[in-house]
Point group: C2
């Protein structure tokens, strides 16, 4: 037992040495090359230096270094329509032959006739009906396959790249920079938790267990002798607005040091984050770049950034202006 | 960017080297010294070798190496009464001065008079009332402090050690052995998720985000200008029996390779685990050791192991007999 313990200490030393080396090497380069040298970049780097410097009074134990990121509009494109909604619309078309009743039932009738105005007019209730019809009534495995297949086959119409490639290069660098400095990165999104999980590891390096999102109620059943998780057509949890800090409490069990969003729906997550002791960072992407991506905020039907813009200064929230603060937007953009 | 990438590769190499060294060092020792050399130990080691050997057809990518453990009776003592129930009973006594109505209201009246027979007779409804009165109506921070303070102050009556010290040494070794072999260990317990989180890191090396359990509904509110999570007196999720695979789906998003329980309430978790492709291990602690711990199974009022005992052979579940298979039970036991 003594010898086992001594080896344990040696190992701990080696791992510690590795992690110091890693920090040192990364420190020698620009860890955020796709960020312009404007205020947000400096604020981020100063913050990371402060919480990781063992000599600083702001030092935070690596175990406690948690960062949370919204997904739609913060890590990947959400405009002109949330990707998950497009997936749901496609699924209605695919499932229509099995649902002859949809020919006369709204909002399905309008959707199948391409009358998106009537679909939109069906409001939250209509959207929820579409989501339940397309996201439930199947096993967890089936749903995962449907999502993976759809994501592998569909491109964002303007950029002609897969949705999973319409991700922000500056954020990929930030995720990597945080990871290299001992942070555990989580996604905290209003989107479906099981809609995101098939893509987050490959796209962002974030494993499924570090993804938090909205969910339907699931049940465990033995089906034909096979244990299965069945997705039920009933909302379980809405991980949006005030739901985000609750999702963080349930899944992570500690308060983030850094939270990054892009809309009023992320405000509560960032309020919760900033209210913790010691240095905390709250950031929002501001979509100001109609040329390289999109420009939208106060009047938008997706990712509306409105109240936050008025409250940012007084609350010390960092507004990251895509046009001014990002040198490159997508991984496939040339410098 | 090129130089940054090259450094990245070097780092990846160093980390890989560290992890190989770690495996090699651990491999040279007996990784499970508190397990007797009986069948379960051999089965566990063969299983870990198979899924971690890159040359084996059973090899599993480190990312996919997930292990789940029940807590009560699997990692720490649950007999004669779940620790969380004892915490709740103590809290009723502590809170009684603020609740004069409890003097005449059951099951509180009986509890305060020490009439545990009447408390027990109040059944699930009575227990739920006690849990809601003692686990909700406060902020997340307050609850965390109450739990930590209680665990730091109360001993298991028979063993005269803190509850957090009445943990099983063979399981600590197994957790460490799995970790050293690239596994991510999770707790999946019927107990309260936020009741466990203050103790799991120190006791088992399992961080809060890898703890899954039952929960009350929580809400986010700004209280006196301070963003807070408030625990509401309403059940959110029951992480027990068929709830366990659901909790795994929601929190982890992939199927475990290995699951360890100790009662019929863990059966669904183990069925779900074993139904995955490739090698999977399902294990149960059988409490057979009245001398060193406790002996209970089919008729027990806690952690009842009954159906599982009849179904184990046919399903390839491993029954770990505490008396026969464990050389040492607690960390403070002498060999």
């Amino acid at each position: 037992m003594i010898s086992y313990k001594r080896h344990g200490l040696m190992l701990a030393g080696m791992i510690l040495a590795c992690s110091f080396l890693m920090t040192a090497v990364v420190g020698g380069q620009d860890p955020l090359p796709s960020w312009n040298d404007t205020a947000p970049k400096k604020t981020i780097i100063d913050f990371v230096n402060a919480v990781t410097d063992p000599g600083s009074k702001s030092f935070v134990d690596p175990e406690e270094r948690v960062a949370t990121f919204d997904n739609d509009g913060t890590l990947w494109v959400e405009y002109p329509m949330y990707t998950q909604i497009l997936f749901a619309l496609d699924r209605v078309k695919k499932l229509a032959p099995q649902h002859p009743e949809w020919k006369t039932r709204q909002p399905f009738k309008a959707l199948l006739e391409g009358d998106m105005k009537t679909v939109a007019a069906s409001g939250e209730k209509g959207v929820m009906e579409i989501l339940m019809a397309t996201h439930a009534g199947m096993t967890a495995n089936q749903f995962g396959r449907e999502v993976s297949d759809w994501l592998a086959a569909n491109q964002q119409p303007r950029f002609k790249h897969l949705y999973t490639e319409c991700i922000y290069q500056p954020q990929l660098e930030l995720l990597e920079y945080l990871r290299a400095n001992g942070f555990k990165n989580f996604i905290v999104s209003g989107g479906g938790i099981q809609f995101m999980r098939p893509m987050t590891k490959k796209a962002y390096g974030i494993p499924p267990e570090q993804v938090i999102g909205s969910s339907v109620i699931s049940e465990f059943k033995i089906v034909d002798g096979q244990p299965e998780i069945i997705r039920m057509p009933k909302i379980g949890f809405i991980d949006d607005k005030a739901g985000k800090p609750v999702g963080i409490y349930e899944h992570i069990g500690r308060r983030p040091l850094l939270a990054f969003g892009n809309s009023d729906s992320d405000m509560q997550m960032i309020q919760y984050t900033k209210a913790g002791a010691g240095p905390r960072l709250g950031l929002y992407v501001h979509h100001t770049d109609a040329e390289r991506e999109y420009a939208y905020d106060r009047e938008s039907h997706v990712g509306k950034l409105d109240k936050v813009l008025d409250m940012a200064d007084a609350n010390g929230w960092i507004i990251v202006d895509m046009k001014k603060d990002w040198k490159r937007v997508f991984p496939w953009n040339k410098f």
